[in-house]
Amino acid sequence: MTDWAAIRADFPILSREMNGYPLVYLDSAATSQKPQAVLDAIIDFYSTTNANVHRGAYSLADEATSRYEDARSTVARFIGAQPDEVVFTRGATSAFNTVAYGWALRNVTEDDRILLTIMEHHANIVPWQLVSDLTGCSIEFVGITESGLLDMDDFHRLLDDDVKLVGVSMASNVLGTINPIAEIAEAAHRAGSLVIADAAQAVPHTSVDVYETGADWICFSGHKMLGPTGIGVLWGRPEILEAMEPAEGGGEMISDVRLDGSAWAAVPHKFEAGTPPFAQAVGLKAAIDYLEAIGMDEVERREQELTEYALKSMAGVEGLTVYGPATAEGRVGAISFSLADIHPHDLATILDQRGVAIRAGHHCARPLARTLNVPATARASVYLYNQESDVDALIGALADAKELFSVA
């Protein structure tokens, strides 16, 4: 049995106050808090091992390089991949852009189509719009059902031989919906398309084996899974990474530079131009070690429990609407909602005055907000360090909001 109170105590920020109340952090889908072990690992790295990687001939640089590559091996093992299939990026967004510039611009033409879903984060929409601007390819979006699931009939209807890329989130940051990635990838491959999966809301919360997903590329960020900001991961099938061109040029990504052209370093280094985020990689490794010590199955089980508790508690609030699956099954712990006619922005301000931090807005998924026909939603999202009392504080603050707005 995991001692969840002890886990919570590992996160120093959670013992601070906000506006005179204990901080209740319910915005982990935006970024997660960091356990002491991650903070210590970063301080330790800068205190003992800091030197630029893959450059110096001296021992310190060699140690730093070892820790950077060790972090890559840890990430690889965590997602069921080989180390040289793991590219470190600045974040999930730059992982998508690496594929947009390194693959799509060179392989997609004006006769081709890119198929996305209406529940994609802007990070899995805008790079493809840039590709479309330059190649003339068209983009289409798979819709959702009334219960907030991906409309698979719509997907199969839109999928044909012209589709060269399918982009889909493994779990929606707005609806919490977990999408059937393996089924999508299989159908896409049969149609001759490659598949890029947004795993930013999946890898932190559930055990992911990249080969089981069937996808060709997987993108996620470190800061949503207890790690530091400034680092993300692009995983790709080795033969695809091999055939891809680098999206950025600079130091570290070359094997030779001549005045009339250069040769690239081997995968994954050819995608890591410039000084990579090596201290962040060390932090990300510590985050993965922390998650693995608990066990991802246990993390997932606990989050399901919290999500279930939150959904049940919210169902008891009159005037509250949840967008997305109504039960904890088949979803992650990002719960978007609205309350009567109180605008989410007002809700966030009122809740903040009770120490409760939630997100209000379109959550970087404006097309989805338009589909739901809401200008914005409020979103509460849980992670392993939350507890039932956090949900209780949210529910209490929602009652205060209703009172302020004279909602019965």
Binding site: P12, G20, I342, H345, P375, F405
Partner: protein, 163 residues
């Protein structure tokens, strides 16, 4: 080694800030029953404003008779502060000359702290004396992230009239 007990937290803001001061009845009334929303037939000035961070949107149409605001339409969607401010603004500028509108806008922006001033824009002894209902919005000043919500309609109106 950094431990929770050795971390010095920022001092929490004292909890004197009052939500009730921001969400006054007159603001909620304008939010729920916005004034002057009907589109105009004759449009002499128009502009759209939005706040990409939170999604607040406002569209303003003005019909002028000489330099007087003869009719105004303010439509939009967003939080109570942005929409109430827009509605109250439409009431405040209707029938005013462009010069008077500029003065009211200036006074409002000073009250909200958008424009720096040493002037005492709002006289505490005579509430409502300078800006009428709009003075109810001064409670927003205590919530810095929300000031831009209150300011959206005013900046959009300025843009419409200066075109």
């Amino acid at each position: 080694m950094l431990t929770p007990s050795s971390v010095r937290w920022p001092t929490p803001r004292s909890y004197s800030v009052s939500l009730e001061e921001m969400y006054r009845e007159v603001i909620l009334d304008h939010y729920r029953n916005p004034r002057n929303r009907d589109p105009l037939d004759k449009i002499d000035a128009t502009a759209e404003g939005n706040n990409p961070l939170c999604g607040d949107e406002v569209t303003i149409e003005v019909s002028l008779n000489g330099d007087t605001v003869d009719a105004i339409s303010v439509r939009g969607q967003g939080c109570s502060i942005s929409q109430a401010s827009a509605s109250m603004m439409s009431k405040a500028v209707l029938g005013k000359t462009e010069k008077e509108v500029a003065e009211i806008t200036d006074t409002f922006k000073k009250m909200m702290g958008v424009i720096d001033t040493d002037e005492n824009v709002v006289d505490d002894d005579r509430p409502g004396a300078t800006l009428g209902d709009l003075e109810a919005l001064q409670g927003v000043r205590k919530f810095p992230v929300r000031i831009k919500c209150a300011d959206l309609a005013w900046t959009t109106l300025e843009e419409a009239l200066n075109r």
